[in-house]
C-alpha cells in the first residue's frame, strides 16, 4: 500500500494529488472508549430478559392452575348440567386406586361431543342404526387409533398407563384388526384425539383418571358389534 503512495507521489510530484484510502463511512469507527455501561450489556440484558420471560411464563401457567383449583361445593349443579347417563352414574361409586380417565368433556363443544357418545351408546343399545353406528365407531376407533398411535408430547405417560392396564397389548399394523380392541381401551379411557398430547399426561395423569367398569363391559360387548359392523 505504501508503494502505491510512493509511486503516486513520484508520478504526481507536480500535482498535489495523492492516492489515498478513505473510510467509506466518515463517522468515527466504533471505539470502546468512554462506555458508560459494561460492553456486553446488551448481551447480558437480552439473556436476563429472556430468562425472566420464560420463568414468568412458567409462573403464569402455574398460577392459572392454582386459580383453577377443584372445589367440591357444587357436585349437584354439575350433575344437573350433565344429564345423568350410563357414563355419569357410576362416577360417584367408589373408585380404584389406579383410575383411568373416563368422561372428559371439553367446554361447550365437548359437551356435545360427550352427548354424542352417550347418544351413540343409547342408539346402540336401543335402535339399530348401522350407518351412524359404523360412522360413530369409525370416528371413535380412528380417534382411538390416533390417541394410541399419534400422540406427541406429553402423551407417553398416559399411554404407558393404558398399556400396563391392558397387559401390553401389542400395536398391530392392521388398523381394522386392532380397531375393536382399541375401541375397548378407548372406551375405558375416553380420550379425545390429540387433546392428551398437550396436557393430558400432565394435567390428567393417572391421578385424575377415573375408571368406569360398567362402560368397559359395555364396550366389550359393543366391540364385538363393531367387529361385525366393520367387517
Amino acid at each position: 500500500m505504501s508503494d502505491f503512495n510512493n509511486r503516486s507521489q513520484t508520478s504526481t510530484r507536480r500535482s498535489d494529488y495523492v492516492w489515498q484510502y478513505e473510510y467509506y463511512d466518515d463517522e468515527e469507527p466504533v471505539s470502546f472508549e468512554g462506555l458508560k455501561a459494561h460492553r456486553y450489556s446488551i448481551v447480558i440484558g437480552f439473556w436476563v430478559g429472556l430468562a425472566v420471560f420464560v420463568i414468568f411464563m412458567f409462573f403464569v401457567l402455574t398460577l392459572l392452575t392454582k386459580t383453577g383449583a377443584p372445589h367440591q361445593e357444587n357436585p349437584d349443579s354439575a350433575e344437573k348440567r350433565h344429564p345423568p347417563s350410563s357414563c355419569l352414574v357410576d362416577i360417584h361409586a367408589p373408585q380404584d386406586e389406579n383410575d383411568k380417565a373416563f368422561c372428559r368433556p371439553l367446554l361447550t363443544e365437548s359437551r356435545s361431543y360427550f352427548h354424542f357418545y352417550i347418544n351413540e351408546e343409547d342408539q346402540r343399545q336401543g335402535k339399530q342404526k348401522p350407518e351412524d353406528e359404523s360412522l360413530g365407531k369409525h370416528k371413535w376407533a380412528r380417534a382411538q387409533q390416533r390417541t394410541r398411535g399419534t400422540s406427541s408430547s406429553g402423551m407417553d405417560e398416559m399411554e404407558e398407563d393404558v398399556e400396563e392396564a391392558e397387559g401390553h397389548q401389542p400395536l398391530r399394523g392392521q388398523m381394522e384388526e386392532s380397531k375393536a380392541d382399541r375401541e375397548c381401551s378407548f372406551f375405558s379411557q375416553f380420550n379425545i384425539p390429540n387433546f392428551v398430547n398437550l396436557e393430558q399426561s400432565s394435567t390428567l395423569g393417572e391421578d385424575d383418571l377415573l375408571y368406569e367398569p360398567s362402560v368397559v363391559q359395555e364396550c366389550q360387548s359393543h366391540s364385538q358389534d363393531a367387529h361385525r359392523d366393520i367387517h
Binding site: 489515498q20 466504533v30 460492553r39 448481551v43 387409533q145 390416533r146 387433546f195
Partner: protein, 340 residues
C-alpha cells in the same frame, strides 16, 4: 481472519466489509500523508473479539441432529400407522431439520477444506455453492418455523373442533398444506439470498419470525387455559371423599403441564431469538459498540440454532410411544419378522 465469516454469513457478520475506497484528494503543501490504515474490523482494536466456536462442535451437533431427524423421517415413512396429519407435520419438521444439519455440516467441511487450502475462498463456484447453502439454510429455518405453526394449528383444531377434526384435517389437505409450505419456503429462501442486500428482506424475515412466535404462543396458551378449565370440571365431578389427596395430586399433574408447555415454548424462544436479534441489530445499530459486542457472539447463536434441531425430536417426536416403538423395531431388530 475468520474463515466462516468469509465463507458465509458475510453480509451478516461484516457490515463494514469494504469500507475503503480509493480517492484522489488534493494534497496541500506537497506533503504526503499516509492515511492508509488497516482493515476496518481490526483497526479500531475492538475489545469485543469474535467468539469462535470450534468446528468440531459444529460437526458433532450437525451429525447427531442429522441422525436423529433422519431416524424420525424414516420411521414415519415406514410405519403406516403414522400416516396421519399430525405425524406428517412432525415428519416435515424433522425433514427441514435434516436439511439444516446436512447443509451446516457440509459447510463446515468446506470451511475446513478452505482453511487447509484445498478450496479457493473467492472462487466463482465456491461463491455459488455458498449461495446455495445459504438458501438451503434459510429454507430450512423458515420451514421449521412453518412446521411449528402447522403443529400448533393442528393441535388447536384437535381440541377445539374435535368432532370435525377428521373432516377438517384430511390427508389431502395435509399434503396440500405441506406442499405449499415447502414451495413457499424454497422460493422465499432463493429470493432472500439473492436480494439479501436490501433491508426489506431482512425486515420481512424478522417480522415473519415475530408473527409466527406470537401465533404459536397464543395458540398454546389458549389450549392450555382450556385444558385447565376442562381439568377443573373433571375434578369437580369427582367424589369429595379423597378430596385432599386428589387436590395434591392435581397440583402435581398441573405443574407437569406447565412444565411441558414451558419447555416446548421456552426452547423455541431461547434457540431462535438470539439469531433474530442479531439480524435486527445489524439493521438498527451497526456502529454502536454495544451492538458490536452482541454481534461478536454470532457463532454461539448459530450453535444455539443448530442445537434446536437437536432438541426438536426429543420434544415433538420421541414423546410418542408409537414412534419410540417404531425406532426400537428399526434399530434393534434386524429382521422385521422377529420383533412383533
Amino acid at each position: 481472519d475468520d474463515a466462516s465469516s468469509k465463507f458465509s454469513y458475510q453480509a451478516l457478520r461484516e457490515t463494514r466489509q469494504d469500507s475503503r475506497r480509493p480517492t484522489i484528494t488534493p494534497q496541500h503543501g506537497g506533503k504526503t500523508t499516509n492515511q492508509l490504515t488497516m482493515n476496518a474490523t481490526t483497526a479500531n482494536q475492538s475489545d469485543c473479539l469474535e467468539v469462535k466456536v470450534p468446528v468440531s462442535l459444529f460437526f458433532i451437533i450437525g451429525v447427531v441432529s442429522l441422525a436423529e431427524n433422519m431416524l424420525v423421517v424414516v420411521a414415519v415413512i415406514r410405519n403406516r400407522n403414522l400416516h396421519s396429519p399430525m405425524y406428517c407435520f412432525i415428519c416435515s419438521l424433522a425433514a427441514f431439520n435434516t436439511i439444516a444439519s446436512l447443509t451446516k455440516t457440509w459447510e463446515n467441511l468446506m470451511i475446513v477444506f478452505a482453511n487447509v487450502g484445498q478450496l479457493e475462498k473467492k472462487g466463482f463456484s465456491e461463491k455459488n455453492l455458498d449461495d446455495v447453502m445459504d438458501s438451503l439454510l434459510c429454507m430450512s429455518f423458515m420451514g421449521s418455523i412453518f412446521s411449528f405453526l402447522a403443529i400448533a394449528v393442528d393441535r388447536y383444531i384437535t381440541i377445539f373442533h374435535a368432532l370435525r377434526y377428521h373432516n377438517i384435517m384430511t390427508m389431502q389437505r395435509t399434503k396440500a398444506v405441506l406442499g405449499v409450505i415447502w414451495i413457499s419456503c424454497g422460493v422465499s429462501a432463493v429470493l432472500m439470498v439473492r436480494f439479501f442486500d436490501s433491508k426489506l428482506i431482512m425486515i420481512c424475515f424478522v417480522v415473519f419470525f415475530v408473527v409466527s412466535l406470537a401465533i404459536i404462543c397464543f395458540l398454546y396458551i389458549y389450549m392450555f387455559m382450556l385444558a385447565r378449565i376442562h381439568a377443573r370440571k373433571i375434578a369437580a365431578l369427582s367424589t369429595s371423599g379423597r378430596g385432599k389427596c386428589r387436590r395434591q395430586r392435581w397440583w402435581g399433574s398441573s405443574m407437569r403441564g406447565s412444565l411441558t408447555l414451558t419447555i416446548l415454548f421456552g426452547v423455541f424462544v431461547v434457540c431462535w431469538t438470539p439469531f433474530f436479534l442479531h439480524l435486527i441489530i445489524i439493521m438498527v445499530c451497526p456502529m454502536n459498540p454495544y451492538c458490536e459486542c452482541y454481534r461478536s457472539l454470532f457463532q454461539l447463536h448459530v450453535v444455539l440454532l443448530m442445537s434446536h434441531a437437536l432438541i426438536d425430536p426429543a420434544i415433538y417426536a420421541f414423546r410418542s410411544a408409537e414412534l419410540r416403538h417404531t425406532f426400537r423395531k428399526m434399530l434393534l431388530c434386524s429382521d422385521w419378522n422377529w420383533c412383533s
